[in-house]
Amino acid sequence: MNYHWNWSIFWQLSPDGVHTYFTTLMLGTGWTLTTSACAFAIALVFGSVIGVLRTAPFPWAARLGNAYVELFRNVPLLVQMFLWYFVLPEVVPRPVGDWLKQLPDASFYTAVVALGLYMSARIAEQVRAGILSLPRGQRLASLALGMTLPQAYAFVLLPMAYRILLPPLTSELLNTIKNSAVALTIGLMELTARARAMQEYSFQVFEAFTAATIIYIVINLLVTFAMRLVERKLAVPGYLGFRAPAAGH
């Protein structure tokens, strides 16, 4: 091997003249987390609405929901990012397009919207599966008690579905964080992009990518750990995931 390792590279000044390479990676981590958090919020809202529509007793709603999911699932995320970033400003009326193009941090907003809607199709699938996994009697019972359909969803079906869905939602959150790396193609300086930039300027390929890999793994572990705690708190008694609170023996 004629590769020269140099782990002290992280403490050297990066070409921006202000930050060390380590700080640039941390800034990238910040962008990764911010983008993922905002995108996941959008994904949860849209995914829940679409998931509910797909289980609602109106054929048009189910069809609309299915079309939405198929549309966002069958186009690669990268292509969707390009559509939002390059195509959207050209096809909307000119003043709006100009405003979009001049937006500061345009790649951040684009990434949040593109990633959020892309993930929302996946979350819609989960929410639909969660609602359908509930016994039919729960919907019938809430309607029989005089609840309207929106009330049945808001007070009975969705609270149960979310609690059952926590484990799959955790992995969708992790997927959101991983997929945020695709935003580097539209110029978002998130973690992978910073590692790539560090590699280009310093030629220390493997150090840069090792650091990024470790940061992603740490994020992964922290999210998994935090969600485990939440899962344990919110597990529905009687379901397999539920562990009875430790009783004193």
Partner: protein
């Protein structure tokens, strides 16, 4: 809005998009799936072997691949593959590998982790009694796996494996980050050369949609046909 949408631009670039771009995309998808399933099955067998020296590396590898972004892994392998080649062939220099070989190694090794999880679920779906029965008949481990467990596991998992292949097909667009000319790469080169981003990216999205949608419908049909009635 679409007043200056130039369909001619799309028509003119069709041969390049499909002959150069789509061939690359489909070939990469097919080969990476085929080799990925083989490697993934081996990883699954390692994970289920119960022998720590096999379980620990396989589990570690799969968890590593599943916790980092694919884009980062593409970069990793793009720089790592020449060194792996050097190590395998005992040459003095890192060897130059072509774009296709580099992408193939990346996709195979990355997707193998996901195929591993699918095959593991498939193997675990086989009742334990079948293994016991096969062993009682005097079958060795390779025979139990080869004649009894894997054929059934594979059959049960065909729909999931094919769905993962559609995901892989969409993921191939990510080779854009190392400037390889796959379908999207070809579209993006034309788009940038002629300043026709709207036309090319819209067309690319439609093509990806049609192929993925048709394929997933096909998987649904297949799933209904091959389902084992229990």
């Amino acid at each position: 809005m679409f007043s200056n949408f130039d369909f001619g631009e799309i028509v003119r670039s069709l041969p390049y998009l499909f002959y150069t771009g789509m061939t690359f995309t489909l070939l990469l998808t097919a080969l990476a799936t085929a080799i990925g399933i083989v490697v993934g099955t081996l990883l699954a067998l390692m994970r289920l072997s119960g022998v720590p020296i096999l379980t620990i590396p396989a589990t570690g590898y799969v968890n590593l691949m599943r916790s980092v972004p694919f884009v980062l892994m593409i970069f990793w392998f793009y720089f790592l593959v020449p060194y792996i080649g050097q190590w395998v062939t005992f040459s003095a220099q890192p060897i130059q590998v072509g774009a296709f070989a580099s992408c193939l190694v990346t996709f195979t090794l990355f997707e193998a982790a996901f195929f591993c999880e699918i095959m593991r679920a498939g193997i675990q779906s086989i009742p334990r009694g079948q293994v016991a029965a096969a062993q009682a008949l005097g079958m060795t481990y390779p025979m139990v796996m080869g004649y009894v467990v894997l054929p059934q596991a594979f059959r049960n998992m065909v729909p999931v494996l094919l769905t993962q292949t559609i995901v892989l097909f969409q993921d191939t667009s990510l080779v854009y980050v190392i400037a390889v000319t796959d379908f999207l790469g070809a579209a993006s080169k034309v788009a940038e050369r002629d300043g026709r981003l709207v036309e090319m990216y819209t067309f690319a999205a439609c093509v990806y949609f049609v192929i993925s949608f048709a394929a997933s419908r096909g998987v649904q049909l297949l799933q209904r046909r091959i389902a084992i009635i229990r």
